[in-house]
Each structure stands twice: as C-alpha cells, then as structure tokens.
C-alpha cells in the first residue's frame, strides 16, 4: 500500500493561521464536501472566482475540470469539453446551474457518490494521446521552467508517483518530460497499443504543503494544520473521516469502549452529559 499524505504546514512562523498574504487562506478550500441529490451535485461558488480551480474527488477518483467551449444554438447555450471529466457554468447560466457540477459522462456519477473537492489555484493540466510529451507542453504554456517535483500526477484519475506510474523520460528535473510508459524507471501501464485509453493530469502542488509518501500508514513528527490534509491510498483519495489527525501528547481514544451510541440519548439529562 502506498500512503500519500499532503499536509498543510502553514507559514514557517505561524501555523494554523488563515492569511492570504501567507498563502494559508485555505481553511474552507480543502476537503469541501459536495452535497446533492439524484446525481446532481453542487459546490460552493463563493469559494473561488476563477474558471478552473476545482480539484474534484469522486469516490476517491480524481476528476479533471475543463473550461468548456460554448456555442450558441436556438434559445440555448451549448457547452462542450474534450479531455476533462466535468465542467462548471458561469454567469451565462441560471442561478442554480452556477453551482452545479456537469459531468462528461452521466454514468460516472451516481446518486450516492461521495464528492469532495479542494480549491487549487496553481494550475491544472491534462493531456492524452502520447506518453506524456503533450502534458509537458501544456504545463510549459503557463510555467516556462517547470520542475517535475512541483506537480502531482494522475493517470485516469488515480494518483501516480515517481517511479510508480510516472517518471522523467528526458531532461533534468528542471526541464523534464513526464513519462507514463512501462519503462523501467517509470513502472507505468501505458503502452503503444493502449495509449488512447489513458488521460494524464497534473496539478501544481499547493503552496505551504508537504507531501509524505511511503509504505507506512501513520505519519508522525511533522506539524500540520488541522483539517487541511489529504490522504491518497494507492492513488485513491480517502475521505477525511477515514483517518485521524492527532496532536502529540493528547490521549484521544480510550480503548475498550464501543464507538457507537446505542439505546438513545439520555432524556432529561443534564446539559453537560452530552456534548453537541
């Protein structure tokens, strides 16, 4: 199992603050649950202002947001995307649609799907049809001298790691070409005969974060901001309630007691008997 924690560390001088100047104003922009019903899910449109800032996880799988191309038809606006998995609408849509996810394939989302998202501003890039060259081309359009380690990489929505799904084909770390092939230093799954079945995505890593990737489940010895952590298990993002964030020295769990409450709430009890 590959455990990959992305931990917000905050500024070197402050931890837990919510400052736009320090790049730590992510209090409400990480691990945001998307509510919805009957296959329609909604996001909080007040969290961002850009057109492409949502890193969406659907049942753990990363969905890539694409800015849709729009066209006019009789009494309607036609939206279309190519590589992406979903898109959102802007001011041209009615109020309800402005906070709704629109998916490329209706079957990719179920009524009971679990959606969570982060707001990211560093940039997201997608490509397909080769072993990674075009992904580098897309990144280079925004960042002239990108570094391989500055990005998180996804293959068909599953996060891949250097040497485990993605690698560098040529160049140095500062002038790289990502490679998703089956080469020895990559250990990927993309071959010439199945190259069109894969889609690559790269997200610039969030500022003031640290990635800890390894085979050990528990991570200790590093500071973090509560609630602003992500966990990928074998490349699939986990819900935040599937792991604990504990502070050193605090005994949070008492062994031997059931975690479930049964038998109903105590009626007419004192207020202090139940902490809401």
């Amino acid at each position: 199992m590959i455990y990959d924690y992305i931990i917000s560390t905050g500024d070197i001088t402050l931890s837990g603050c919510n400052s736009s100047d320090l790049g730590t104003d992510t209090f409400k922009k990480t691990n945001v649950k998307a509510g919805g019903t009957a296959g329609s899910f909604f996001f909080d449109s007040s969290l961002f202002t850009g057109k492409q800032e949502i890193q969406l996880s659907v049942n753990g799988q990363n969905f890539f947001q694409e800015i849709p191309a729009t066209g006019q038809a009789m009494n309607e606006i036609v939206f279309s995307i190519n590589t992406g998995d979903f898109f959102i609408k802007g001011q041209e849509a009615d109020l309800l649609d402005r906070s709704k996810f629109f998916f490329a394939s209706p079957t990719s989302i179920g009524f009971d799907s679990s959606l969570k998202y982060d707001i990211v501003t560093g940039g997201m890039f997608a490509a397909t049809g080769d072993f990674g060259q075009s992904l580098k081309t897309n990144i280079a359009r925004r960042y002239s001298s990108p570094s391989f380690t500055d990005y998180d990489y996804f293959l068909n929505g599953q996060k891949v790691y250097s040497g485990v799904g993605v690698g560098v084909s040529v160049g140095t770390e500062a002038d790289f070409i990502p490679l998703f092939s089956t080469a020895a230093n990559v250990a990927g799954v993309v071959r010439a005969d199945n190259i069109n079945e894969f889609k690559y995505a790269a997200y610039k890593k969030k500022p003031k974060t640290t990635s800890i990737t390894g085979l050990v489940a528990d991570v200790t010895g590093t500071g973090f901001i509560e609630g602003r952590t992500n966990l990928y298990l074998n490349g699939i993002q986990e819900l935040q309630n599937s792991y604990l964030e504990l502070f050193t020295g605090v005994n949070m769990i008492k062994l031997g007691f059931s975690a479930e409450i049964s038998g109903g709430l105590p009626l007419n009890g004192k207020e202090s008997s139940l902490t809401l």
Binding site: G36, D44, L95, L96, S273, L276
Partner: protein
C-alpha cells in the same frame, strides 16, 4: 412581509414556486386570518400556510403551547403572546406543522430566519425525529422517523438522526451564529448541507456531511421549537428554545447553499420594483405617406359645328327627266327601256337626271327560264314561244345645267383635358411621431430593510453576551 420577496427569489432561482411546500411569515399577522383547531375540548390557534407556497390549504401550523376552551382565548394567546413583535416566539409555544407525512424528509430543504431572545441555549429548530419500537421474537427493534435540526449550547447548528448504528449527532463546527441568523439545511442523497447566509458580506458559510438518508422515514408531525426526541424534551409540544422565528419555509428536494442564499434574501427582504430613470422621448420620422401623382393632358377630342361652306363643283351637269308614259305592245325578245329617276338623291341641289336600261321582253309566264324546243329556227333554239305583252315608254327631256354648288358642313376640333393614366411622380410626405428615445430603466429585486446590527458577526454571541 416576505411573501413578495420569497416569490421573487423562488422565481429567480427555480423559475417557479412549486417547490415551496410550507411558508410561515410571522410579520404582519394582525391583518391576516388566524385559524383554529379544536382538539377535544381545547382550541388552538393555527398559523396558515401562506403564499407563495404551492398549496396553502396544507401544512398549517398549530400553536400547541396553550389550549383554551374558547376560540377567542386561543386566538388571543396566538396573537397576543405567541406572535410578538412580528415574530413567532418559540419561548411561549412550539408550532406543529400538520399533515407532513407526504413530505419526503430524506429529500427536502428548510430555511429559517430566527434570532435569539436572550442567552444562547441548546434547542430544536426543526423537530421531526421520533423513535419507534417494535418487539419481534422478544427482540426490541428500534426505528425512527425524521431527524432534528437545532442549536447546541455553544451556538452551533446540529443534526440529530438515527440510523442502523443508532443515534448520532453531527455538529456544524465551522459556522458561527449571530444574534439573528438566516440558516438553511438541505437533505440530499446521503448528505446534508447546512448554510448560514451572511448578507452583510454576501457570503455563505456552509458545511456538508454524510448522512445515510435511506434510514429517514416521513413523519406526520414536524415541530418548530421542539421534538419528541431531544435531550431536554419528551414531546414535540414541550418548549425547548428561547428563539423567535421571523419566518420559516420548507421546500421539496435538495437545494444547494448557493440557492438557499438566494431564497433566504427573499425570506428576509421585500420585493421592490421601480424606475431607475424615466423614459425620454423625441420626435422622429416614423415613415412616409406616399401619394402617386398622375399626368394631366389631352384625354380626347370633341368636335363642334362651326358653320357650313358652299363649294362650287366647277363642272356642268347633264339634267333630264322622263314623262308621258304610254303603253306599247311588244313581242317576246324585243328590246325596250326601263327608266329610273335620280330625283330623290339630288333633290336638295335641285338637279335632276335619270337613267334608262334597255332590256328584252320576256314571257311573264315563263318563269324566266327557257329551254330549246328545236334546232330549226332561232325561236326553237332559244325556246321562245312568240307571245306579246305591254311595256311603258316615256318621252325623254334632257338638258345641261350650270355649275353645281355643294354645301359642306364645317366642324372644329376641341381638345378635352384631364388626368391620364401616366404617372408623373410620387409625393412623399414624412410622418413624424413622438417615440421613446431611451426606454425607462426598471429595476427590481430584494430590499432588506432590517436592522443589520443583529446580523453582524464581528463578535461571538455566547450566553447572551457579545464577547
């Protein structure tokens, strides 16, 4: 009154109002009807579901606090105690929404505009949780209907439910309340979204968490202010809160916080419409009136007599006459003359003449058809029979007259003038009218005329104090 505002915001958000199931607007109740429900011998005031709810005949709210034996006293309690300062004071009575077993609690949304009367204490805002118990094979099976939404002593919204694992409570930790709050909750497919609308900063504080909604059953009663299952109460009629409701609405289906933000503005504010700038007018040519002009000219001629002229022919004319008719016997085939006079033709000029024609006498009984009777003589050859008959002979008188004169009538032509079919041109006459140069600019929307101090959240409102 938030009815007009809510109507506007519903149409703005959904394009229709059908999703609004329940709407209680507690302002301006003095001008509205207060219903009554008789339960046994006790009367209870009824707050009627009001516009723009889809069916105002359903989901009335019963003021369950104090029943009275007379309708008047129950109404007096409702208007004098429960409805206080245009708010429903849930410190005096809870409100029971009736007939709610048709409302799918697993897919609905609610909006509250409420404020704390004094200290912040835990209470139930929306109480539909009810435990059920069945004994099967000596095993007590506990089930539940609905859920509760309320406020903790710390002033946080909470969701209390029951699922296959038993009771649970989830608290909306990230949302801090103020004295007055517009909050919503929306239950969707296995999730619940809470939101507090911050209209001062035009922002939403929201939180969504997972809930197994397959275990949420409908309940025939929903209490505002209490619950059958709550830490401090044993029945929904029991008062749990010290808050006052300005308004409340319940809608069908999951509504995202961004939409409840829009709906909440209509719940709090009033709809307005007005003219930002009046229309300006100007005189402008609106078109042309075209008139076809036809050519005038000679349309024809008329002739008037101008007199006569006598024209001398310049030649002498032979004149004559025949007279003295005598009968002479003549034989068949003999020649004689037939006379005809020109008198009548030239009577006006006075010149007379005649003509004569020499013809042969034919047997009147022959039918003027002869066939040869032989070839010996001329008579046989011609078929003559040798009969006689009488013919008339005349004496002739001829002479020469002088040169003749002919009178000729003279005429002069006169042109007739008028309008011909030819077109000489078109007269274009511009038509002008006063038209709108710039139309009036209308504006409409929601105007919030409420005291903002209670909405402010630059403090922590805790235990009745600003910290």
């Amino acid at each position: 009154m938030s009815q007009s505002g809510l109507h506007y915001s519903l149409n703005l958000t959904f394009g229709k109002t059908q999703r609004l199931l329940v709407h209680y607007d507690f302002s301006g109740m003095s001008g509205r009807h207060i219903g009554n429900e008789l339960d046994g011998t006790l009367n209870y005031g009824v707050i009627e579901n009001c516009d723009p709810a889809n069916d105002t005949g359903l989901y009335s709210g019963v003021v369950v606090g104090v029943g009275d034996t007379t309708v008047a006293s129950a109404k007096l309690f409702t208007t004098g105690t429960f409805l206080n300062n245009n708010k429903a004071n849930l410190e005096t009575s809870n409100l029971k929404i009736t007939g709610t077993n048709s409302i799918p609690l697993s897919s609905c949304s609610a909006l509250f505009d409420f404020e704390f009367n004094s200290d912040v204490t835990g209470c139930v805002l929306f109480g539909s949780l009810e435990k059920t118990s069945n004994t099967i094979n000596d095993q007590v099976i506990t089930g539940a209907k609905g859920y509760n939404v309320g406020i903790t002593d710390r002033g946080k919204l909470f969701y209390q439910g029951f699922n296959k694992k038993g009771d649970f409570i989830k608290t909306v930790d990230s949302v801090e309340l103020s004295k007055r709050n517009v909050v919503s909750f929306s239950v969707g497919s296995n999730n619940v979204s809470f939101a507090r609308m911050d209209y001062l900063n035009n922002s939403i504080q929201s939180e969504t968490f997972d809930v197994d909604t397959s275990f949420i059953a409908e309940n025939e009663e929903i209490f505002l202010g209490g619950s059958d299952e709550y830490i401090r109460t044993t029945s929904g009629e029991q008062i749990s809160s010290n808050i006052s409701l300005n308004s409340f609405c319940l809608l069908s289906g999951y509504i995202p916080p961004s939409a409840t933000f829009s709906l909440g503005s209509g719940l709090v504010g009033n709809y307005f419409t007005g003219i930002t700038s009046p229309a300006t007018f100007k005189e402008q040519v609106t078109g042309y009136k075209q008139t076809i002009v036809y050519q005038t000219g000679v349309t024809g001629y008329d002739y008037d007599g101008t007199g006569s002229i006598n024209i001398s022919t310049g030649r002498y004319m032979r004149t004559g006459n025949f007279f003295g008719a005598t009968s002479v016997n003549t034989g068949e085939g003999d020649r004689y003359f037939i006379y005809r006079s020109f008198d009548n033709a030239l009577s006006d000029s006075g010149i007379k003449s005649f003509v004569k024609e020499e013809v042969g006498y034919l047997h009147p009984s022959s039918g003027y058809q002869y066939s040869p009777t032989g070839d010996k003589s001329a008579f046989d050859t011609l078929g003559l029979v040798g009969v006689d008959g009488g013919v008339t002979e005349y004496a002739e008188q001829v002479g020469i007259s002088g040169a003749g004169t002919i009178a000729v009538q003279l005429y002069a032509s006169r042109m007739l003038t008028g309008v011909t079919s030819g077109i000489s041109g078109v007269i274009q006459e511009p038509l002008a009218d006063s038209i709108i140069d710039r139309p009036e600019v209308l504006n409409s929307g929601i105007r919030m005329n409420v005291n903002s101090i209670n909405f402010k959240k630059d403090y922590i409102y805790y235990l009745g104090e600003r910290l």
